[in-house]
């Protein structure tokens, strides 16, 4: 990776950190206005610096055919070293990192601004913004790090930030528990990530991304890579790193923390789901794309896990009634979609979807937040309805987001989702029928997505108001600080896809070409006719989903209840999220706990301490008691012992 030293990269990361420190140390003494100015300013300037860096990266131009992509780099200091392992803290800003950086800082900035209105009444205002800034710091560190170990600081850092923010209202034990669950489930993934690093290090003797990249590229050139790192090991490395992504990006089977993460304030959900945290896994796989492409076996795992997650989460989302939970499962499903794209080798499509998803999912969460805010904390969509008239702005922006996520033509999600579907069809990782299955299931998921999103939309904004909690005439309307980000995100969600208009629609697919230097593209296996067919199918499915939702939740609102009644067992199973949480509780948590209890009371206290330790002490005492008898001061008895001893000795001497 040809690099050019660019110290401003340090600023992108440092600004949110400075914001964190100021608000942490003195925030509670500062006026609220200053607190949020510092926090928003920190991330806002970080965005501006990232933008500058982006333009400077553009100015660097192409690396040329066959060379590595241009990047801005900045080496900070050597972190630690031991033996052959040397870890440096340094940043690198290549095209992939640039996209990620811009998405993270821009969306985070809008969420920061929105929070000013949303959290206005909270008593821990400065603590909130401290955590928010810290979240961005960790995420940016993760994005910019050019060593996998430094990346891991950010990786665990976002885990910590989510722990703190999910449990932000820690007086509620359930919320504190949700935060803890998020951290621990993430840690399970992180352990896999660490093992991946160890295995990788065994072969590469380095954990710096550029060095690994060079190593892989050099090996691949001579066809020697599989001798250097045999296939099973390479695949294992890929899968272990992916385990980390499964935890961080909430994929099967480690997705369980994300729905619970709704316990945090709603803007935090937006942050976790759109900009920071869950996209980290997708980013990592893309970042290490060169490795995954060299070991496609690992990519197949990524594709299958992504696909299954996309489907399963979408089915769960259909039966949820909590507005934030629906969105949470939707995120899990969409992340699965991104992994599907990566898994079939359509890396730029995955990153493209990551970007558009950031826009519309942030918008959805912020919109949901505005609804919850207006309804005084109500989250059940069964107690909503008819809000369009009262919350016009929220309703319209929410509609834009729904259209985008459903893949309605010309909205951003349309382009990215379409590219993913095309990627699955066109890919050559599996046999053609295998690719066909991936495409088909992806298509079904797209339909489900359109359906549950519009179910949500109609139940919230259409029809009559069904709740009692607030008087509709006196809704809390969102203040300016909340509505401006909504509008900004709506614009992005609507037109954000135009950076990647595919060729068959007359576009240049700039996004794809721009990233192609960092992320290898797929060879075109099928003709553009297929691409057109795939696109038509996805549009049809989206419209069908929307139509069905319109039928069921607008026109014939008695239908859902009747259907649920008809398929009662299935409905209960799905609406209870397939009892996955319960299964984990019964199969993992409880046995582990009883084992630990057993270890403590049986092994530690009884076996080791009582039998062994006290046993030795007891033996010593018994010996003492017995020996004591021998020394009772009775001279005659001593004499007897002497005689006996003498006799025995003589006996042995002469006869033995």
């Amino acid at each position: 990776m040809s690099g050019q030293s660019y110290p401003a990269l340090g600023l992108i990361v440092a600004l949110p950190l400075v914001g964190t420190l100021i608000n942490l140390l003195v925030g509670h003494r500062l006026p609220r206005r200053l607190v949020h100015w510092i926090a928003c300013g920190a991330i806002g300037f970080s965005f501006l610096v990232a933008l500058l860096a982006f333009f400077d990266l553009l100015a660097l131009g192409h690396g040329g055919e066959g060379t590595t992509s241009p990047a801005l780099t900045y080496a900070l200091y050597p972190w630690f070293e031991s033996g052959r392992l040397a870890v440096r803290v340094g940043f690198s800003f290549d095209r992939l990192a640039a996209v990620m950086c811009l998405v993270v800082t821009s969306v985070s900035f809008l969420i920061h601004v929105y929070s000013v209105g949303y959290m206005a009444g909270d008593r821990s205002y400065s603590r909130y913004f401290t955590y928010l800034n810290f979240f961005c710091f960790a995420m940016l560190l993760l994005v910019l790090a050019d060593s996998l170990v430094v990346l891991f600081i950010g990786w665990e850092g976002v885990g910590l930030a989510s722990y703190l923010l999910i449990g932000f209202w820690f007086e509620d034990p359930a919320k504190a528990m949700a935060g803890q669950k998020a951290f621990i489930v993430n840690r399970i993934g992180d352990a896999g990530f660490l093992l991946g690093l160890f295995l990788l290090f065994t072969f590469t003797q380095s954990l710096e991304i550029p060095a690994i990249r060079e190593w892989v590229v050099a090996g691949g050139a001579g066809g020697e890579l599989y001798r250097m790192m045999p296939v099973p090991f390479g695949v294992a490395v890929g899968i272990l790193l992916f385990v980390g992504c499964v935890g961080k990006s909430a994929q099967l089977p480690l997705y369980v923390w994300l729905p619970d993460a709704m316990a945090g304030p709603t803007p935090v959900s937006a942050l976790i789901h759109a900009a920071t945290m869950v996209t980290a896994g997708v980013y990592l796989v893309a970042r290490m794309g060169f490795l995954y492409l060299a070991y496609p076996g690992a990519l197949a795992v990524v594709a299958v896990v992504g696909l299954l997650t996309a489907l399963v989460a979408a089915t769960i989302a259909i039966c949820q009634t909590d507005i934030k939970k629906i969105l949470a499962y939707s995120t899990i499903s969409q992340l699965g979609y991104m992994f599907l794209a990566l898994g079939v080798g359509a890396f730029s499509a995955g990153i493209f979807h990551l970007m558009t998803h950031a826009f519309f999912k942030a918008l959805l969460f912020l919109g949901a937040g505005a609804v919850i805010h207006a309804l005084d904390g109500e989250q059940e969509i069964s107690a909503m309805g008819g809000l369009h008239a009262k919350l016009k702005l929220v309703s319209i922006t929410f509609l834009v987001a729904c259209l985008a996520i459903s893949g309605v033509p010309l909205f951003s999600g349309f382009f990215s989702k379409d590219e993913i579907l095309w990627g699955t069809l066109n890919g050559s990782m599996l046999a053609p029928w295998g690719q066909g299955i991936l495409w088909g299931v992806g298509l079904i998921t797209a339909g489900l997505t359109a359906f549950y999103m519009f179910r949500l939309y109609f139940m919230t904004f259409a029809g009559r108001y069904r709740g009692q909690r607030v008087d509709l005439a006196h809704l809390h309307r969102p203040p300016l600080s909340m509505s401006v980000p909504l509008v900004a995100l709506a614009v992005l969600a609507a037109v954000g896809g135009f950076v990647g208009v595919p060729e068959i629609l007359g576009g240049a697919n700039r996004f794809h070409h721009w990233l192609s230097e960092v992320l290898p593209g797929q060879p075109e296996r099928l003709s553009h006719l297929w691409e057109g067919l795939s696109m038509a199918a996805s549009v049809l499915v989206a419209l069908a989903g929307i139509g069905l939702a319109w039928q069921m939740y607008w026109r014939r609102i008695d239908l859902p209840a009747r259907l649920a009644d008809r398929a009662r067992g299935l409905y209960r199973w799905v609406s209870n999220r397939y009892y996955v949480d319960e299964a984990y509780e019964a199969a993992v948590v409880r046995p582990l706990r009883s084992t630990s209890q057993l270890f403590y009371s049986l092994v530690d206290r009884l076996l080791i301490d009582t039998f062994l330790v006290h046993g030795v002490a007891f033996a010593a005492r018994v010996t003492g008691l017995v020996a004591k008898k021998l020394q009772n001061g009775d001279v005659q008895r001593y004499g007897l012992f002497v005689l006996l001893g003498l006799g025995a000795t003589l006996f042995l001497l002469f006869l033995g």
Binding site: I184, T202, W215
Partner: protein, 647 residues
Amino acid sequence: MGLSGVPWLSLVIFGPLLGAIGIGLIPRDQKALLRNLAFFSSLGVFALSIPLVLLFDPARGDFQLTMQQFENVAWIPALGVRYQVGVDGISLFLIVLTTFLTPLCILSAYRAVEDRVKEYLIALLVLETGMLGALAALDVFLFYIFWEVMLIPMYLIIGVWGGPRRRYAAVKFFLYTMVGSVLMLVAILYVYSQGEVADFSVEHLWATAQGLGGRAQLWLFLAFALAFAIKVPLFPLHTWLPDAHVEAPTAGSVILAGVLLKMGTFGFVRYAMPMFPEALQVCAPYIALLALIGIIYGALVAWVQSDVKSLVAYSSVSHLGFVVLGLMALTPQGISGGTFLMLAHGVSTGGLFLCVGFLYERRHRRLIADFGGIARVVPVFSAIFLVIVLASAGLPGLSGFVGEFLVLIGASQSHSLHFGPVEYSFFGRVGPSVTSFLFAGLATLGVILAALYLLSMVRRMLFGPVVHEANTRISDASPRELAYLVPVVLAAFFLGIFPGFFTSRIEATTARLLEVIEGPGAWERTEEFLATVAEDRHSAAQPIANASDDRDQTGDFRVNAPGDRGPQGRWRELVQGNPGPMIERLAQGQGDQDLTGDLRRQVPSGVGGRSDLPEAFTGDRLAEGRLLARGSVDQARIEGLPVEVPR
């Protein structure tokens, strides 16, 4: 710098003792004066220890900072006992850790102890001298004296100022430690008696012990290992620790967890490992297994504790398991990481006990259930507590991570962590084996479990609603309390953000230690070898086919190489005196030498360097690498001899 003309080490070691004498002269009712004097004298000792870090030469791995006129003088000439002190990269930071923690402990005891203040402070300061002396001693006799000096004040601190079951805990602590110490004494005296000259210096004893026969080495190693394993404590010798911690007063717990436990791991590094390399080869995987059990078992048991102190005590069992695992991996990362983790654990666990003491002072309760929701009541304290907990849980950027990371990566790269022959390694038997990865993988579970038990403790103590009315009135940290909590937090950050400051000074010592253990230059050559393999593969200029040809060519060599026997084979050889074909051949050539013993002495001094290798060894790199793979150390030992390697 003009700093070098001062016997800093001696000043540091005896500074606390001077303070203790000063305290002895002050009337016992002047409590404030007593406390201040103790605090400032220990603070002064900390200040005196800073020049040690400044003067330390990171490039050197041997003992340094000895001031020859004062600090290397005969003490009991008839026995060859000297007053000799010095530091290497490992003891340097443990000394600084000790001088750093002691003033904080004394500060934390300003309110906690009202009864017999004078004696308490004297005990703490004498304890500090004992610890510092044991860390700095370069004479084994001196070391043993300091080792025992530590024991008595700690026994008193637990037994006099402890909780309700203090007598039981103190006696248990004392007896446990004594059992190990006595065996160690016997072992020391035996090694001493085998030396050709009367000399107790560490390096002389290393050399003498290394020259001993296999069976003797094994027994002596076990004696040392037992003494240190008790101190660590290694599963299943750990049950004294929870009792001692639960009963000890705060300062006692801090010192116990922060420094005393490290005496065990330090003992391994300084004495048991370099003295008995051959026995170490045999025992390393088994000790590592105990450490691994300790990691997981300690974490699980910690999870179900209801008493905070006992939870932290079991967490120490788990964390120290990581340290021992790293040491037994016998890789640069493992040993450096283990050393770094000793420091990190000292800071974070010391900090945890300070936090528990903070709460105990207010509520006189130690059960987790006695708290809950106090984050709202004492926000500053809670933030500090959380940072220390996260440091203990190994969050990157705080103290714990780098140590655990290095230990785990060191274990995964280890050549010593396997029970069978070296058959299962990745590169034709050079480099890490499958079992070493299993060790690393299972130990990584400990990282998950650490988050589990620590965060559920935090949740139950800090979060949720305030359930006990008494908890609504507790006061947040006072300036004095901040003065001992904030340095811990800063240290945790410093260790996490600038670990290179420490690892760069530890590295040379680690390299030297591995050299002593594995023979001169062995590790570097393995490393070089791995590097060249990586390089070859990297450039792809030299087709790897060559290397695999080598592998085939050396098949015969491998069969006869003792390196393939695995620990059981080595064990058998050590215990039964079955020397293996190579040594047998050698012994026949050499006449009627004792097969198992004294081989080393026949080796002319200075051999073992790279240039002395017979052609068969230097011929191909792969063979060399395999030779240097763990398990073939005894061969590396005799590599300088004119041996025909059977082909």
